[in-house]
Structures are given as structure tokens and as C-alpha cells.
């Protein structure tokens, strides 16, 4: 490709070089290092005058350093009279902060967008932005590529009997994403809702009803469930199966049965009233905050049916493991799901997230794309992790953009190259 330079930042060199390989070019030489005082230094080793410049930088664990590096790189190219600068950011950092979460919360994703434009970016390419409205934060064009088709392709090829599978959203906020994938695969979907413990009376009422043996759960189980500490023999009564909605309790991130009494329970119930008002106040807030630690006890509800089927939990990113694990436990132990796959575009795996998902018996496979760097050691150690390569999508986007071709074919629900 003539008049085109691709710079690869330090955040995710593997992806950057895969993209370059697909484009059949070498990454443009540049030196990215740090001064002794911690300041980032960038030197561009080739002329960019009047060239079409692409800078590939993703989010990473050293997120702020790499944002700074990206801004300096873009700014250096602008200073070097590049014709057009495109920031390719496979996983957009700070994208969870795309709205006012709490009162007086900062919309950091918009600030980052402003910084990028200010540094001199003319165009931004990203994948599966946390909210597609984020495109409106930029005053320059943004192409939001989709990871869904690649994930869909993997499901078609690797999930046995995928036509009988169910795509599950682990929170109401992600339902749209889930229905889009379910529609494209022409399969069913379900949704999980986790909320603060509703009034205990309501719950015990329902339980009494259940003890009247309206529905026997034992037939749900073909296999003997794995008995964990805290589980009793009468585990069948651990569920309220009323009209296709299954509810169970979650304490400290794990599904428990009704007899389980938590030490903190008494204290918790005292404060419940106040939690009700301060906790989650609007439809927007309760979304994807995984406040496992703040609320020791919650109620998990499955809306839909996964009985005897494979469940695929889909989200845009896997950040913390708590909600995935409790969702998987609920579906396998209480709702009779056959296998649970956890699938997302961005595998961020903060802390020991991957290891915890690994340890959960109820999760069969964890599938992510390579938009975010995952250390080789972690990949080697993990038996459940599957990584899908999406470099071809970015390479094709860069090629088409450079030649001024339409990239809308990449948005096509069938496109997975």
C-alpha cells in the first residue's frame, strides 16, 4: 500500500503485527520508550509527510501509559505533516465510563475522545464500543466494527448442536446485544437479572407455595448435581420455578439454597431500607456494575428457558468474574442447563478473573477475541480459554479505508472474514 504507514503501539504488539502481516507491510519504525522520570518518549523513524497514518493501540493493563503513548504518537504524526491520522483502538479504554454513573460522575470516555481529537486524530476505528452512542462523543468520524459475526461463526463451528443452544444476557442492559446474536444464529435467548435481595417475605411466601409441591424439580436433573459445601440434599427446593422465571439466592457471588444463613445477614437486613434508596436509583445505573462486594446477598433470576440446552452467556467484555460465575452456577445447578459458554469480544480479565472462571465447574469454555492483550503465560495455563483472531477485520478496514472503499460490508451480520 503506497503512501501508508502503520504504527504499532506497545499495548498490544501481537495484534498490531498480525494486522501488518495481513496487509503485507512492515510496521513503520518508531521508538517508544520511557525517560528515567517516567515520561513517555516517542520517536518516529520514517517520514510521514503527506502519508495516510494508522496508529494501532488497544487498551492494556498499563492503560494510562498507553493512552499517553497513543496521544503522543498521534500528535507526533500531526507535527510530522501526516495527511490523515487514524487511531485504531480495538478495545476503547475507559469505555465503561461512557455516561454519568453516579451523580456528579465524570464521562471519562468522552474526555478521552476529546483528547484524541485534540491530539490530531482524524478518524477512529474501534470494535464493539461499550455503547454505540459513544460514536457521538467524537467530532470526527468513528467506525465501530462488530465482533459479533466472528463470535457467531465460532459458535456455529464449535458449539455442538448450536441450534438448540440459548444465548443468555447476564444483565438486562446487554439484552440488545444478545438478541442481535440470537437473531443472526436464529436461536433462542434468555436473560438473567441479579438484584438486591427483595423483601424476604415475598421470597419465603413463594417458597411456601413451592413446598406445596406444585412443581417437582427433580425431573429437571438428569445428572446428579455436584454437591458443594453449603448445599443440602433437598436442593431441588432451591428454586422457585414459577411461570418460566427461576429465582435463587446469591451470597458472596455464589448460588446458595434457602437454608443457607449468612452471618452478615442480620446486619444486612437492618440496613436494607437504606440500601433500597441509595443503592440503584435509576434504570441506567444498575447496569453493569458488579457490586459483588458491596452487597453480600442478592437474588438471581433467569427469564427464559435453558433446560437441557447449552447456554451461551454473551457480553461485550469480561472484566470481573463474579456475575458470570453466579449466572453459570444458577443456570447449571438450578435451571438444568447442559453446558455454559462464556463469550465476549474483549477479554480484559482483571486480576485473577480468568483463573476464577477457570475454577468454576459450571463454565465449559471462555471465548474472547484478541482485541485486548492477554499474557502468553495465562493463555498457556488456561484450559478453557479460546481466543479468536480478529486482526483480519482490522486489516481489511484499514485497507478499505486507505483505498477509499466502503467498509459497510464489515458491518454486515454475515461478515467474519
Amino acid at each position: 500500500m503506497r503512501k501508508c504507514k502503520v504504527f504499532v503501539g506497545n499495548s498490544h504488539p501481537e495484534l498490531g503485527h498480525l494486522v501488518c502481516e495481513r496487509l503485507g507491510i512492515e510496521a513503520a519504525p518508531c521508538t517508544l520508550k520511557k525517560f528515567a522520570n517516567g515520561e513517555t518518549s516517542v520517536q518516529i523513524g520514517v517520514s510521514v509527510r503527506d502519508e495516510d497514518v494508522y496508529v494501532i493501540q488497544s487498551g492494556s493493563p498499563e492503560i494510562n501509559d498507553h493512552i499517553m503513548e497513543l496521544l503522543i504518537l498521534v500528535s507526533a504524526c500531526r507535527g510530522g505533516s501526516a495527511k490523515k491520522i487514524t487511531a485504531v483502538i480495538p478495545q476503547f479504554p475507559y469505555s465503561k465510563q461512557c455516561k454519568m454513573k453516579k451523580h456528579r460522575g465524570a464521562i471519562t470516555a468522552r474526555m478521552l475522545a476529546n483528547l484524541l481529537i485534540m491530539a490530531g486524530a482524524d478518524h477512529v476505528v474501534s470494535m464493539d464500543l461499550h455503547a454505540s452512542q459513544m460514536q457521538g462523543f467524537f467530532t470526527k468520524p468513528v467506525d465501530n466494527l462488530y465482533g459479533g459475526p466472528s463470535l457467531g461463526k465460532w459458535i456455529r463451528e464449535h458449539v455442538e448442536d448450536y441450534r438448540e443452544a440459548v444465548v443468555v444476557s447476564k444483565n438486562p442492559g446487554g439484552t440488545k446485544r444478545v438478541t442481535a446474536l440470537a437473531d443472526s444464529l436464529k436461536i433462542n435467548f434468555a436473560m438473567i437479572h441479579t438484584d438486591r435481595r427483595r423483601s424476604k417475605d415475598l421470597y419465603s411466601q413463594n417458597k411456601d407455595k413451592l413446598q406445596l409441591k406444585q412443581r417437582k424439580q427433580s425431573m429437571l436433573r438428569k445428572n446428579k448435581p455436584i454437591i458443594r459445601p453449603g448445599d443440602f440434599e433437598n436442593e431441588e427446593e432451591n428454586i422457585i420455578l414459577t411461570n418460566g422465571i427461576q429465582t435463587a439466592r446469591v451470597i458472596k457471588g455464589h448460588v446458595v439454597d434457602d437454608e443457607y444463613v449468612d452471618d452478615a445477614d442480620a446486619i444486612q437486613s437492618d440496613g436494607e431500607g437504606s440500601i433500597g434508596t441509595i443503592g440503584s436509583f435509576d434504570a441506567v445505573d444498575s447496569e453493569d456494575d458488579e457490586e459483588d462486594d458491596e452487597q453480600p446477598e442478592k437474588l438471581i433470576t433467569l427469564v427464559g428457558n435453558v433446560q437441557g440446552r447449552t447456554a451461551i452467556i454473551l457480553d461485550d467484555m469480561i472484566d470481573r468474574p463474579g456475575s458470570f460465575i453466579s449466572a453459570a452456577e444458577h443456570m447449571v445447578k438450578n435451571c438444568g442447563a447442559k453446558e455454559v459458554y462464556v463469550i465476549a469480544t474483549h477479554g480484559i480479565f482483571t486480576g485473577d478473573c480468568l483463573e476464577q472462571l477457570e475454577m468454576s465447574d459450571d463454565i465449559h469454555k471462555v471465548v474472547v477475541t484478541n482485541t485486548y492483550p492477554i499474557s502468553e503465560e495465562r493463555i498457556r495455563k488456561s484450559k478453557k480459554l479460546v481466543i479468536i483472531d480478529v486482526s483480519s477485520i482490522f486489516a481489511e478496514c484499514i485497507r478499505r479505508d486507505h483505498y477509499g472503499e466502503s467498509i459497510s460490508v464489515l458491518f454486515d451480520s454475515l461478515a467474519s472474514l
Binding site: P172, D183, T242
Partner: protein, 324 residues
């Protein structure tokens, strides 16, 4: 509430555009103020002209204009921009646009190739005209707040809706239903607060030209269903959803929406529908000859927001509590 009596009214000015005079009157009455004297005319060539009939120098100005009208929505937007600009040039200290229903809010993302993000454009236009602050209600997507560089207070109708459900519906036998997947979050949040179950309807598009099928997730047999959404426009979705629910054995279906836009053939559709009630707030004027319509007045919430903003108090109380 004590403070509202001691409120310093010397520098608050309420200006009303032509889009929703009734709401503006309600707000003014709640605040114990009168609407400032302004004239909004159209020249014979349809250009809008604004005159502000009293001094607003160094005043705290609130302009009430909502997004409404099949024919006039752009006129009202233009009117709002011109009033803002007129106040700016007339040396107002601070200009706050009170836009209960944000126009073009549904064009908030590039969902198709080459689709414009018009909500962003509207945000930029408001800022360019000279707006310092925006008060709105139930934005279609809260990310629209990020389209502005000025502060935006996105108020919620949820507390008022909550009150309505608690007092005026058969809450003991109710179930909340979201008519599409995108609204699941809104419904789940309400369900939590009301201790109710909820269900979900999804429009499935198997093929491009095939008639869309509605899938119900959850069970509604014998229940009184409350369909919750942020807006009702042509009502096609609501009517279809209510049919689906009744097919699945629902006892009755009520629809509760924040913005009752009711454009196009909405009136006809609602008349022929099996909905037993449709409830909306008065963020937009509703001119609908349908006997199943009920309205929730949200002007107290807007008035209280204006009062708190003017006095420099926190607005977050209104996110969880309905003003009286």
C-alpha cells in the same frame, strides 16, 4: 419544601416557547412565578422572529421548550435556538434550556453505515447558540449527556411512574413487560423497586421482508401486564405487544410511557387496540381523542429541578423521589 417559600425570585426568569405552553404554565404556577413576556412570531416567509419583552440582564434564564409536533418540530427547535441566542446577546447571566423531550434523541448512534448522529448535532447547535445548561427527562440513551460539553441534568420520570403504578393500578396482580430488548434494563429497575416480576418481548426478524414475529420471554397468564417504555410514537409496537400478551393469557394490558408522541396513525391504532389503558407523562402535549388515555403530571419535578438549580442545591434527590 420549606426552602421554596424563601426562594430568591429576584433573578429567575421563565421563558416559554410555543411548543408546550400548558406545561410552562404549570411549572410557573408551581414555582409561584409568572412567565416572562416574550413574543415569538413567524414572518410571512416562515422565518421565526423573537422579541424579549423585559430585561433579562444578569438574570438566571430558563427556557421551556419540548420536542413535539409532526409538522413543527424543526420550527420549535429553531425557535429554542433563537430564544437562547437572543438571551445570550441580551446579557443573561446563565441560560438553561428545559427540554422535557429531547428532539432527535433516537438518532443517537451510527446504527447503519453512513447514518448521521443527529442528537449530537442538536447538542452542538444548542451550545453554539449559547446555552449554559440543559435539563431534560428520560433521554433515550443516557450517553447523549456526553454529546454536550455543558452540564446536562437528565431527570427521571421513574419516581412519578412508580407512584402511579402503586396507586392507580392493580399492583397485586401486576407484571412488568418490556416491549423490546433494549428496554429490559428500564423495566428491571422498576421491577426491583416494586417487587414485581417482569417479562420481555422481542421482535424477531427472521428475514428482511418477512413479517416480524413477537417472542414473549416469561409468563403472564392471568396477570395484569404493564408495558413500560420510554416513548410511544406510532404505537405499532405497543399494540402488537399487547396482542401478544393477550394471546398468552394476560388478563389486561396497560401501557406506561414517558413521552407520548403519538404521531401518524397512533390514534387509530390505539382505538382499535385491546389496551385497557395508555398512560403517558405531559413532557409533550397530547392531543388524542382516546378514552383510555391517562396522564401523569411531571411539571413538579421540572419545577423543583429549576428551583434547586437556581439555588445551587443538589438535584440528585429528584432521581429517586417524585416532587409534589
Amino acid at each position: 419544601m420549606e426552602t421554596s417559600k424563601r426562594m430568591s425570585t429576584n433573578s429567575i426568569k421563565l421563558l416559554a416557547g410555543n411548543s408546550h405552553p400548558e406545561l410552562a404554565q404549570n411549572i410557573a404556577r408551581t414555582l409561584g412565578l409568572r412567565l416572562s413576556n416574550i413574543g415569538v412570531y413567524q414572518y410571512s416567509n416562515q422565518e421565526t422572529s423573537v422579541t424579549i419583552g423585559e430585561s433579562i440582564r444578569d438574570e438566571d434564564v430558563y427556557i421551556i421548550q419540548t420536542g413535539t409536533g409532526e409538522q413543527e418540530i424543526n420550527d420549535f427547535l429553531m425557535e429554542l435556538l433563537i430564544i437562547i441566542h437572543a438571551c445570550r446577546t441580551a446579557s443573561a447571566r446563565r441560560i438553561t434550556a428545559v427540554i422535557p423531550n429531547f428532539p432527535y434523541a433516537r438518532q443517537d448512534k451510527k446504527d447503519k453505515s453512513r447514518a448521521p448522529i443527529t442528537a449530537k448535532l442538536v447538542a452542538q447547535m444548542l451550545e453554539t447558540a449559547g446555552c449554559d445548561h440543559v435539563i431534560t427527562m428520560d433521554l433515550h440513551a443516557s450517553q447523549i449527556q456526553g454529546f454536550f460539553h455543558i452540564p446536562v441534568d437528565n431527570l427521571y420520570a421513574e419516581p412519578s411512574v412508580l407512584k402511579y403504578i402503586q396507586h392507580k393500578t392493580d399492583i397485586g396482580n401486576a407484571i412488568l413487560v418490556s416491549p423490546d430488548a433494549g428496554g429490559a434494563k428500564r423495566v428491571a429497575s422498576l421491577a426491583d423497586k416494586l417487587d414485581l416480576n417482569f417479562a420481555l418481548i422481542h421482535k424477531e426478524r427472521q428475514k428482511a421482508n418477512e413479517v416480524s414475529r413477537m417472542v414473549l420471554v416469561g409468563d403472564v397468564t392471568g396477570k395484569s401486564c404493564l408495558l413500560i417504555d420510554d416513548m410511544a410514537d406510532t404505537c405499532g409496537t405497543l399494540v402488537k405487544a399487547s396482542d401478544t400478551l393477550l394471546e398468552h393469557g394476560a388478563k389486561e394490558v396497560l401501557a406506561i410511557v414517558t413521552h407520548g408522541i403519538f404521531s401518524g396513525s397512533a390514534e387509530q391504532k390505539l382505538k382499535n387496540s385491546k389496551l385497557s389503558r395508555i398512560v403517558c407523562t405531559n413532557t409533550v402535549p397530547v392531543d388524542l381523542d382516546v378514552n383510555i388515555l391517562d396522564q401523569i403530571d411531571i411539571s413538579p419535578t421540572l419545577a423543583e429541578a429549576i428551583r434547586r438549580l437556581h439555588n445551587g442545591e443538589s438535584v440528585s434527590y429528584l432521581f429517586t423521589h417524585a416532587a409534589i
